[in-house]
């Protein structure tokens, strides 16, 4: 199946509708047995449900047959067979009971199947998240990925069960009722059946007309929602500039516009039910009249009319449901399509065969004619060569936007290089598993990602088996111990989702402690020092000195003072490495590095 990754249409296109629907249905496969049960229960429930009116009609006939009217229409003689009536009604009670039971069982089974299916879908999505190449995250906004993985799945989850229950029941009910109708009277059946296409036709008109308003509603809703998001995240600025009123006015105007379209859309969709009902009622009247005439001619019993009328009334219900479902189906399939788009995005390239394993690296790293670009037509690094010995300190510097993180991406195999090779202890990193490569590295990233758990669990993130003592040791090394001990619950203080209970510096300290705890052989410090104050920075530098002893380490620096003593400095510009050497060599060269250095310490 070909999927268009950039497709953002809010509705499923006809060409992809069926493949997507089929694929969604594929999620039911593991629950084949339950699905069969679900159908079985539905069939039984409906069978008993539609037996009801027939038996009820029979009861009426039993009563009426026992009564003889005189010419004035008064009861002349009555000997109703109450024994037969009693038996009939008892059977009816059982039928009703069974119908209720099977309806319940059907709904219950459907709930189980539907929810487990959604569970599987969510699992697939989460697994996919772990397997997508980083390129995906660098080229898609978090908002887009999030809306596919949360809102869209929720949309599917809320509708799929409703659709399953109603669709199956509706289908069975319609079939069952048609059969029952024909056993009573083909003439009346034809009248009743004329209702069906008429109702569906009218519904499709309503759906088509309302589509415009629904799109309008969706569009305006998007505007309102993104405005809310933006203004909430910039609330401090609004307050500081006193623009509350203007912001409110703008929001009110957007809300009013949404109000108009939403009202129209809701109204349009609400017309469906009365219209279908009207068609159904016209059928009802037709049947009353025709049935009345036929009974007068003695071609039909009164009980039969009664049953038939009940069938017509039951008939419109599934039709309304079906048209509702068709409406829902569109948006559900569209949501599913967006989720499948994500699931179909290419994953990381597969690992090579016969992988080599390094448990503990010495830390020799070699860049051998490395060539790389984020896209094939835009090569950034043309030919990079460098040899780094175990325990050396490598500084990476350059102006903002020079692509310093690119090197990290390559070292840790977040991206694969396009040519040449990167070797650790002489082994090409592509001959190792990604996980193996990354396990050799410890890293303090620019964005201090912490997850919602205790401080302790965050610190042992890279090495879950670390003991409490080791965790505390790591914190002492990172100078995080002091502030942690001042927190109300110390190491057990929970970090909430946005870690808003910690300052930027504290978060940074924790990520440093986390790297300490993981005890890697190669370190990457990605501008770690930029948001830590200089005093702490100095203490870290000391601790780092101890830690980096015998370990290869890369330091990405904005401030050149931190890398002046590096064994090798890589100077980057426009994505490529333009100079390399130690501080003195680079100063002597009087190139980019010297320029940068002089501007900082002028």
């Amino acid at each position: 199946m070909t999927m268009n990754t950039n497709k953002k249409a809010s509705d499923a296109k006809a060409s992809t509708f069926w493949p997507t629907a089929k694929r969604l249905l594929g999620y039911f496969k593991p629950y084949r047995k339950k699905v069969i049960l679900m159908f079985l229960f539905a069939a039984l429930g409906v069978a008993f449900l539609i037996t009801g009116p027939r038996l009820l009609g029979h009861s009426t006939d039993i009563i009426i047959q026992g009564i003889v009217y005189d010419s004035a229409g008064n009861v002349a003689d009555a000997h109703v067979n109450f024994q037969a009536l009693k038996v009939n009604l008892a059977v009816l009670l059982i039928v009703y009971g069974l119908s209720a039971l099977f309806t319940y069982l059907q709904q219950r089974t459907t709930a189980q199947v539907a929810q487990r299916t959604i569970y599987d879908l969510r699992e697939d999505v989460d697994k996919k998240i772990q397997r997508l190449p980083l390129n995906y995250y660098d080229t898609h906004t978090h908002g887009d990925i999030l809306s596919r993985t949360t809102t869209d799945i929720e949309q599917i989850s809320t509708t799929i069960q409703q659709m399953l229950v109603q669709f199956i029941t509706a289908a069975f009910t319609i079939i069952g009722i048609v059969i029952m109708m024909f056993t009573i009277s083909w003439q009346m059946s034809i009248i009743a059946l004329c209702v069906l296409p008429a109702a569906l036709f009218l519904c499709s008109i309503v759906i088509r007309k309302s589509q415009k308003y629904f799109l309008g509603q969706q569009d305006k809703l998007g505007t309102v929602n993104s405005y809310v998001e933006e203004q909430y995240s910039g609330h401090t600025v609004i307050k500081l500039y006193g623009t509350e009123e203007r912001t409110e006015d703008a929001f009110d105007a957007m809300s009013d516009a949404l109000n108009e379209d939403a009202r129209r859309a809701q109204f349009a969709s609400s017309i469906m039910m009365p219209v279908t009902n009207l068609v159904g009622n016209i059928g009802y009247v037709g049947i009353c009249v025709l049935g009345g005439i036929m009974t007068s001619n003695g071609n039909l019993t009164i009980g039969a009319i009664q049953s038939f009328i009940q069938y017509t009334q039951q008939f419109t219900q599934p039709i309304i449901q079906t048209s509702n479902i068709l409406n829902l189906l569109q948006s559900t399939i569209a949501a599913a399509e967006r989720v499948f788009d994500l699931l179909d995005d290419p994953e990381q390239s597969p690992e090579r065969e016969n992988l080599q394993v390094i448990d503990r690296a010495k830390g020799d790293i070699e860049f051998d004619h490395v060539r790389f670009g984020y896209s094939a037509d835009k090569i950034l690094i043309t030919d990079m060569n460098a040899k780094i010995q175990q325990g050396q300190k490598v500084g990476i510097c350059g102006p903002t936007g020079a692509g310093k993180t690119t090197l990290v991406n390559l070292l840790m195999r977040f991206y694969d290089i396009s040519g040449g090779s990167i070797k650790i202890d002489g082994i090409d990193t592509r001959d190792m598993s990604r996980q193996n490569v990354r396990r050799l590295f410890g890293m303090v990233l620019q964005d201090t990602w912490l997850y919602s758990a205790s401080i302790r669990d965050n610190i042992r993130y890279g090495r879950p088996e670390a003991t409490d003592q080791e965790v505390e040791e790591a914190c002492k090394m990172a100078n995080a111990d002091y502030f942690i001990s001042t927190l109300p619950e110390g190491y057990d203080t929970p970090i909430d989702e946005s870690a808003s209970n910690l300052s930027a510096g504290q978060k940074q300290l924790l990520t440093i402690a986390r790297a300490f705890c993981a005890d890697p052989q190669i370190l990457i410090l990605d501008e770690a020092t930029s948001s830590v104050d200089t005093r702490t920075e100095k203490l870290i530098a000391e601790a780092m000195e101890r830690l980096t002893k015998g370990r290869t380490n890369f330091q990405i620096a904005h401030r050149l003072s931190t890398i002046r003593d590096a064994d090798l400095i890589l100077v980057m510009k426009d994505g490529d490495i333009v100079e390399q050497g130690n501080h003195d060599q680079l100063m002597e060269r009087d190139g980019v590095y010297a320029g940068l250095y002089n501007s900082q310490f002028a």
Binding site: Y232, R263, I293, Q306, T400
Partner: protein, 570 residues
Amino acid sequence: MLKLYKGLQKYAKQMVILIILLCVQSFALLFLPNLMSVIIDQGVVAGDINFILRMGLFMLLIALCGSASAIGVGYFASKIGVGFCTDVRKRMFKHVGKFTLAEFDQVGASSLTTRSTNDILQLQNFTIMMFRVIILAPIMCAGGVILSINKNPQLALVLVICMPVIVLFLVLILRRAFPVFHAMQHKLDRVNMVLRENITGVRVIRAFTAEQREEERFQEANADMTRTSIKSQVIISTLMPILMLIINIGTVIVVWFGGQQISQGTMYAGDLMAFIQYLMLIMYALVMMSLIFAMAPRASSCADRINEVLAIHPTIVNPASAKTPPQQTGVVEFENVELTYGEADIPAVANISFTARPGQTTAIIGATGSGKSSIIGLIPRLRDVTGGRVTVDGVDVREYELDALRSRIGYVPQSAMLFSGTIKSNIAYKNESMTMEQIVHAAKIAQADDFIMQKKKQYDDPIAQGGTNVSGGQRQRLTIARAIASQADILVFDDSFSALDFKTDAALRQAIKENAQNATVIIVAQRINTIMNADTILVLDKGRIVGEGKHDDLVKTCDVYAEIASTQLA
């Protein structure tokens, strides 16, 4: 939810019309079986085909009338439901607009966003269905009872007994379902949170090769939610069969006693048929209602989340009677200021006293978490002091009209936040009618003019939401230009030069000095170069001022400062 629905009062008139229309709709529905019984009892028994046709025509008319009212119901339900939720949406936005940092910390910006968008939408969908379907059910019940009493009071008793039984089961089931639904909502939040963390933290997760563990963490949350969600669905699944069963049993009873009455000649067969159909119509109304009720717990938890926000009273509000200083020069004074966050034991900052004067630059330097941002946030009242006071021109900031106070302060927050629009609209943020000269002038001071002129559309170049389409340094300069363009007499920079290279940083400070000679300038910084030349430097350590003076003195007298200086200026 009821609390929110008080806002429906505004729609009282429309609601009255709606209910009248609902009555007409249900009466028309119920009246059809009535006419049918007439056809049976009078037309069929007498064999009067003309009568049957006449009645048929009449029934058509009634059906038409019923559907017309139903369309009217749809119209008013949409109008009220959507209108009501628009009101809530506006009210919520306005209310959140009054929140400052403390309240945002309490709920979280992302949660506030969900509550203002998705939760309101859920509420809207439910409200509309409530008006169209849920209210219809009791009206149908009442109508059915009235019509049946009219026809046959004894048999009507069956209906009258059925009603409370239905209500009882309804209450019993929903009472069990609601808590489970609420639990599910929480668990769903957790699933989404883990997912969000997996997405935002993808680099770290991979760097630590924790993919497997993250999958397990997700699986756990997901399984937990699925269990609860199945449980809630199973409870709701009992609702419809039970309702149907009760009505069906009612039908059987009606037929049994009806049969006896017919045989005694006190009732017509057509009437019995009408009865059976009343019951059936009522049953369908109830079934539809129960389907919608399945939506109720979700809507109610949305309403709760909305109410929670509306119930938060913003702490920073305008004073009862505002003061204005006699003279506006821009003197900012801190008098023994203390600030304690939430329920923390120790204040974040304490004993802060200093004066920042017009024409001078006051700098604050200190360790991360030493309380620099906390201190300056007190000036425009982003938070309020918990001890001491902050004055501007001798008047306590808490006694100012908020707008009057804030319009005097050009404040550049640490995170460079831009709004979607153009470069121009962002710089002229305070006052949309700002002239182009003023905008360019501000941009020049902020050292932003150069890069702006290199943009394709220059000052009209678009800015994406959050300013993601410009670099960090550019974003920072634009926020500085925005503050300068506001022509405030107090300029506050919260570490706003961090993404700038040293050259730009120096040029910018020089330009500010030249152009805003009489302004009070307060700078918070990490880099010593940025503040070396300030008139007064405050050195902060763990929330206390440990040094105050000029660079040359501090290097000698203040250990903390000397240490910073030695590492950065080596």
